[in-house]
Subunit: 343 residues, 4 copies
């Protein structure tokens, strides 16, 4: 229903903002998307902006996000900046009538997120958030099986995520905590694959690093979910894995089960000494390499086709509410209904 | 510390009681154990007793459990009867100075179980309970890795069990409920692999069959565990699986992770139509075939060596207490400390 | 077609001959088969005979094979002696009207094997040979898929076998060579799964141990097969594997492919240090544990049902001919038609 | 040793020639390589040239390969045209002093290939051929294990390749046959992973489609290899697979074995009805997606670093010789020494 329309579907003008670690991955992806024109890359750091421009093969580099967004040749803005700037940049882009792809989350609080949801609803500007796992071919295949009815009535959900490297203390203090910063990916998958959640109960603890205690956070957590459709679920979350990036998701129903877990990083198995070994993925950039590419390709396909891109702000809002419910449950030591989280 | 001693380690006299479905499996195993002499097989049903005798190649068949236990040639009694008879038969055997291997549980209530624990402690009679998963080579290998220190400090436990076929209503009413009858295997593994549990929280629901509601029971349940050593855990329990017997256990620590899950029933993979397929195990008899054999072999090895067989009544007691805590948590909708379950 | 008939299907009298390493496995299996009566165990060594008797729970132990075979209570003879005694013992048993299960091969030369084939044909005595792989559940499942038509027209066969430990020099000298002693299992599978072979070409070499050269044998060999039905095949054979018993078989056709390879010995996978590891089977006793049990169970089922047991002497003869063709091809450095091997 | 030097390592001028199916994949890859400047895309078809230009975001499109190669801004030429044009275009580029990346083969005959080898040797111009499998992370990992010594002395090599879709008759007639057109990838891997081959024997047949017989070609073939270092090998080649692109390579040595086979296309496994299923890769574009990207990235890295890119013409020559030896062996029904193939 968007009034947004690209001028030339073979040459959509794009601004990119935020050349951090993931930003470099994103601009490389953008360089390979045929029907876009990389107009400008912005970063507060001049060197980073310039590096982004080179990789993106963009026309220019600037240090002002505003300048990039307002460039008349720009029709779509791709945001990969720090979390606390997302909402402001998204709003600026919407106000300028530019489509937006932004890293999740919109914000760490409901009010600001709600404001963006309403802005998008009233303007019809296309906005997509970076829940990349939805675009991993494994999760896409799982979703297709579920939607086809092959799994039957869903009875149980299970998600496990272990990040490879624990974040630093400075980041921890502004991260929103383990549920908003990390479990949020699994909570989004719960909503994507099973449906809305009614009630949660979370337990958290500090086993890995005392910095998590200093940040009033957990590094190891478990959560139970009760879905509106009656299914139950569990989520396991850990901030560190010495054996690599450890992601596994399971959805079981009355007639079938889907399990998503990348079996091994390369296609090589080494046998020796009465056994064999193979490698795990190291971290999200290698495990979700395809998903990071697909989520951007799909965004531009939606712009060309005039479809509302997904997942959008409303999804981000409900997933945030769910993560806040987990946080509250953990802090207050009680089950929390998701609907009671209104701020 | 047992005063029990076998007369001839090459010819231990054995009585077998209870020729049900698992009983036939057990007598077949016993027939293949070299250093025992199958003296007598008992079952209330004359035909079943006789069939058991034939398979066991035992000397005689009787319809009285007492007669079998008290036979002077019998040194060890193997019990595979209905749950509500276990405690009585174990007690009778202990009183007669006979070693006991019995299907779990001793009983569904703490008091009776506690009584057997004390009886064993005071008499020194060897008693082993049928928690067969401990003898599956996969779980044995996992335990060895954990004990070797390769997993490091344990941080998380996860167990999933889905039985293939839901039980009938009559059985349900006397089963003790999903936690005592089914999750108990995973709770025993939690104690075996990680250690004692401090607190639990369980949610249950009825999604599979309304008979579970009639029996005031759940068919689908999730549980969170907090271990004394600080680790967290989740247990998923389902009474029905249309894709086969679905058992998976994971223990993650600071330096490694063990996962126990039987990859496929046979060694054959069939490729066709851009994909491949293989078979799952159907049910516990095929998945745990080796474990059902090993648990009995190990019992007789312990008798010969004069070692206390394990797991014994004290293990059965603590696992029962844990299952009762889960049941209470589910019924009362609150976290339950295991230590508060005293009756 | 056999005139042979068991007296009491619940109590077939059995003699066992040859208590070597595999013999102990066999008598343990026999002890657990319900409808047989272990009459006698024979071995030239008194101690071994006695040990076999104890494990088999047999009635008596003797040092004379002839005495065991001729025992009037014996209806079936199970032979697990050295290769060069098989034909003689089989003949003695047939002459005495006793059914026979014997380890393969009947003999290492065609003439003697042919003689037994004719003896069986003329007497109708049931004789089964120990090609155990046919009874592995994976191979049984593969055969069922092929017979169902799911694989379509067969186009290619591939078999790989690596024994864990190379045999000693003394054994090598009488083994018949790598094709008769080892590749024979894969050649039997080729016939079992695909059909008769028309032509072979084999290359062999010595890479592992110079003793193979001393024995005028190969330790590493590859073979190409051309089947009568037009399919092609390859067989790889190695006398030593430092990573465990390495067996893989593949049959590809116009609509599907079966692959038989046991994925891992136990159900445990250990993740650590950006990778994971699991164990291979060590050797044939653990890899084919079920097959060694099934091949004997199936033999007695056939006796009870009055069916001709399989694989019988005619299968052994054709598989031997194929192995001899490979040997000749290797020695003479040329392709060999199987039909030209007549002595 | 090359006198070739890029002008600006951050902006190597590139011409691309041949916008067929794989060509589109290649230009998409090139668009995402940061340090190159896509100067021109050429194809005899105006529309294809233009499409390639758009995807590559190149500066211009032309219909003349010569015009593209001779463009002064062009420093490197990427060739993805039909096989019979490779040698001519490579020569033209070398003469113009431009670095070359070309799809394999250089040519289907030794003389022409030899000529290019000599030209490269005398000019020092960097030339890389598109044996993409060497850049698959699985094969890279296997090579690393072998080079590290972990596999020990190599004893056996096995390669299986099944293409998904058989080619059309017109292509078949000019393809050079199954060994030059298809087995060549496995023969290159044999040389890459094990070393030079001394002798081959190949059998071929027609089982899939009579068009292969019309083209005097085989659709199903097996080959035995004898390596200079004493190792033996087998190669299985099939022109059609109904279950997807079927590629498996094994290298076994005295202390270990590497197996390269992509386990499944997506990370999703679906369990249902007492079994599970997952998907195979469909064809080379999805199976070797990363390799097709890496082979080009690595080429430009070599140009920037002043290293000779690999695999170069000398590799292409020896692999061609090996494929010709297989073809000759098949046609003449005899073992062929690779060294005897001189034209």
């Amino acid at each position: 229903m968007s009034s947004f329309k690209v001028r030339d579907p073979n040459r959509i003008g794009v601004a990119f903002i935020g050349v951090g670690r993931m930003g470099v991955t994103h601009v490389k992806t953008l360089a390979g998307i045929p029907n876009i024109r990389m107009v400008v890359v912005a970063d507060h750091g001049r060197d980073r902006a310039e590096r982004g421009r080179a990789v993106a093969k963009a026309e220019r580099a600037v240090t002002s996000s505003e300048e990039a967004i307002l460039d008349p040749a720009v029709e779509a803005v791709v945001i990969s900046t720090q979390t606390n700037t997302h909402a402001g940049l998204i709003e600026m882009a919407i106000d300028a009538g530019k489509a937006v792809w932004s890293e999740k989350p919109i914000a760490l609080d409901l009010t600001e997120t709600q404001r963006i949801v309403e802005l998008v609803a009233s303007t019809g500007i296309p906005v997509q958030l970076g829940f990349m796992r939805r675009f991993d071919p494994g999760y896409e295949a799982a979703k297709a099986r579920i939607d086809s009815g092959a799994v039957g009535r869903i009875e149980m959900f299970r998600a496990l995520s272990r990040d490879t490297y624990p974040p630093g203390l400075e980041f921890l203090k502004t991260s929103g905590g383990v549920f908003l910063d990390m479990a949020v990916h699994d909570l989004d998958l719960a909503r994507f694959l099973v449906g809305e959640v009614d009630e949660v109960q979370s337990w958290g603890t500090v086993l890995i690093d005392d910095r998590f205690a200093q940040a009033d956070d957990s590094d190891t957590a478990v959560t139970m979910l009760r879905f509106r459709n009656g299914a139950l679920g569990v989520v396991e979350t850990s901030r560190r894995s010495t054996w690599g990036y450890d992601i596994r998701t399971e959805v079981a129903g009355s007639t079938g089960k889907v399990v998503i877990e990348a079996p091994q990083k390369t296609s090589m198995v080494f046998s020796r000494d009465f056994g064999f070994e193979a490698d795990h993925f190291e971290n999200f950039p290698d495990r979700f390499e395809v998903a990071y590419r697909r989520e951007l390709e799909v965004f531009f396909e939606a712009l060309v086709d005039g479809r509302t891109p997904s997942p959008g702000p409303a999804d981000a809002l409900e997933t945030l509410r769910l993560a806040l419910a987990c946080t509250r449950s953990w802090r207050e030591g009680r089950p929390v209904r998701v609907a009671e989280v209104t701020s």
